[in-house]
């Protein structure tokens, strides 16, 4: 079991999709939202995912395939 902290960014129609709900149902992952800001056309959610490492990896690949952007928590770790 492992935990991963990530940021999802939703734009346009994706804002209206229940992506986090589906993530928790399609995969054996517990989703724990800590902070979010969701507007009409854009939104972001910072959350912790709890599950097997491989399951989290598969789940995040599925989230990415929906068009939701997945980033490490706190912005890019690469710096200039």
């Amino acid at each position: 079991m492992g935990k991963q902290r990530v940021k999802f960014t939703f734009v346009d129609d994706l804002v209206k999709q229940p992506v986090i709900f589906e993530l928790g149902h399609k995969f054996k992952i517990v989703t724990n939202i800590r902070r979010a800001e969701v507007g009409g056309e854009v939104g972001w959610v910072i959350l912790e995912l709890d599950g097997e490492d491989e399951e989290i990896k598969r789940g995040l690949e599925w989230v990415g395939a929906t068009g939701v952007r997945v980033d490490p928590l706190g912005g890019d770790v690469i710096d200039g």
């Binding site: 800590r34 902070r35 800001e37 706190g74 912005g75 890019d76 770790v77 710096d79 200039g80």
Partner: protein, 425 residues
């Protein structure tokens, strides 16, 4: 000694001890250093600063380290040059150039890394790591060489040759990752969780970022303890931009600026705006990676991440950690944000070189072209006291300007020279 009370979450305000942490356990917000300014005000003065070394460590009382024996390769105290040619070209009579490209590893990153490396040793780490598009890798490797500890630096495999060599020469463990930007980013984020290293821009980030405040301190000191009317700053993560502003406001609150009364830091040290700081903060990004500028232009309170595609690799941070805080600084300071077309980056490099004799990297080309836009649009008036920050050296990105090389090829004779020379006139 360090005048640090601890760390505090910028979002929910929860407090933590001064440890190698960067994220609030409760809301996952970023952590910032909290200082004991009451004690700092008793020990710091213009005189105490003037007696310090000609490096960032002259401001040691305002940095979050013990600093009795800092990892110091003499970062900082770089020239502030009164412009002649560039100012004349742009119609700016009171323009200064902060030439931070002459730091020991040739970028402003030496400021932040010197602080982070010092703090890492205080915490007992024996390995210092980073993920970098170039300048940071060079600086981490150089500081580790100085400190005698191991450096592990991750770079994208397609990085400019000058930056790869500039890091490799210090003999770090250099890891060139063959992957997309997002893949490199994700890998390094996971490594930071798994390895007991001081990642300067991850678990050292609250301390690391504070090093950029010295860019504000120095400019104020070099201007005779005044702040400029305008500063023009390149931006990637947005951290440097916010810290220059913080530096100006710290000096004001501590009563170190000329003609400015000291004042309380208020409830939140990190958002304080002293009325004596009248500087407009102008942020410049390259169009190929301008998420903060886009958010500003669209009046959004959040910054939407982008996939970087810019010639200015040192500014190519698609998901800027301090983006929303940078937006607040632009707003509070009455500043602006502008994205320079990619096609203007090289012309900006050449303009600075040809008018001032300063060879900057692509990030500097972005900044100079942004300054040109601000002057032309009237956002900066001819007599306004303006400082433009040049943060990296052109020798690192020579590939970008290879087109300038057009020598006169001659035979070794006077006649051949004169024929070629006359033809070139």
């Amino acid at each position: 000694m360090a005048f640090v009370n601890g760390l505090k979450c910028r979002e929910c305000g929860r407090e933590y001890p001064a440890e190698p942490l960067n994220v609030c356990d409760f809301c996952f917000g970023p952590l910032e250093v909290v200082y004991d300014y009451a004690t700092i005000s008793e020990v710091v003065s213009r005189d105490s600063i003037a007696k310090g070394p000609l490096s960032i460590w002259r401001y040691k009382d305002l940095l979050p380290t013990e600093a009795d024996d800092p990892v110091d390769i003499m970062a900082g105290y770089t020239p502030l040059i009164k412009s002649k040619g560039l100012g004349k070209t742009l119609g700016l009579n009171n323009l200064y150039i902060k030439n931070d490209s002459v730091n020991p590893s040739f970028s402003f990153k030496d400021r932040v890394v010197s602080v982070a490396a010092t703090k890492a040793l205080e915490f007992g780490y024996d390995t210092i790591a980073c993920a970098s598009t170039g300048n940071l890798a060079c600086s981490v490797a150089a500081h580790c060489a100085r400190a005698g500890v191991r450096a592990v630096v991750f770079i994208p495999a397609d990085l400019e040759r000058g930056k790869i060599i500039g890091a490799a020469i210090y003999n770090p463990v250099l890891v060139a990752v063959d992957g997309t930007y997002d893949e490199v980013n994700r890998l390094c984020s996971e490594l930071a969780d798994d390895y007991p290293w001081a990642f300067v821009n991850i678990n050292m980030r609250p301390y690391y970022a504070e090093g950029s405040k010295t860019l504000g301190y120095e400019v104020a000191e070099q201007l005779g303890w005044r702040v400029p009317d305008h500063v023009v700053v390149p931006s990637a993560s947005g951290a440097m931009f916010t810290k220059i502003w913080k530096g100006f406001n710290e000096l004001a609150c501590l009563g170190l600026l000329e003609g400015v009364e000291s004042s309380s830091f208020g409830v939140d040290q990190n958002t304080v705006h002293h009325p004596g700081v009248t500087t407009s903060m102008h942020m410049i990004q390259a169009e190929g990676c301008s998420p903060i500028v886009t958010a500003w232009a669209n009046k959004q309170s959040q910054v939407i991440a982008v996939r970087p595609n810019s010639l200015a690799k040192s500014l190519a941070i698609g998901n800027p950690a301090d983006g929303i805080y940078a937006l607040k600084v632009i707003d509070r300071s009455g500043g602006s944000a502008y994205a320079v077309p990619e096609s203007d980056i090289v012309s900006g490099i050449k303009l600075l070189a040809e008018t001032e004799g300063i060879f900057t990297e692509t990030a500097g080309g972005v900044t100079v072209s942004g300054l040109k836009h601000l002057a032309k649009s009237g956002a900066i008036k001819p007599d306004d006291l303006t400082v433009v920050y040049i943060t990296g050296n052109g020798l690192k990105t020579q590939e970008a300007v290879e087109e300038v090389v057009h020598p006169l090829f001659i035979k070794p004779s006077i006649r051949s020279f004169e024929e070629a020379f006359d033809g070139a006139k």
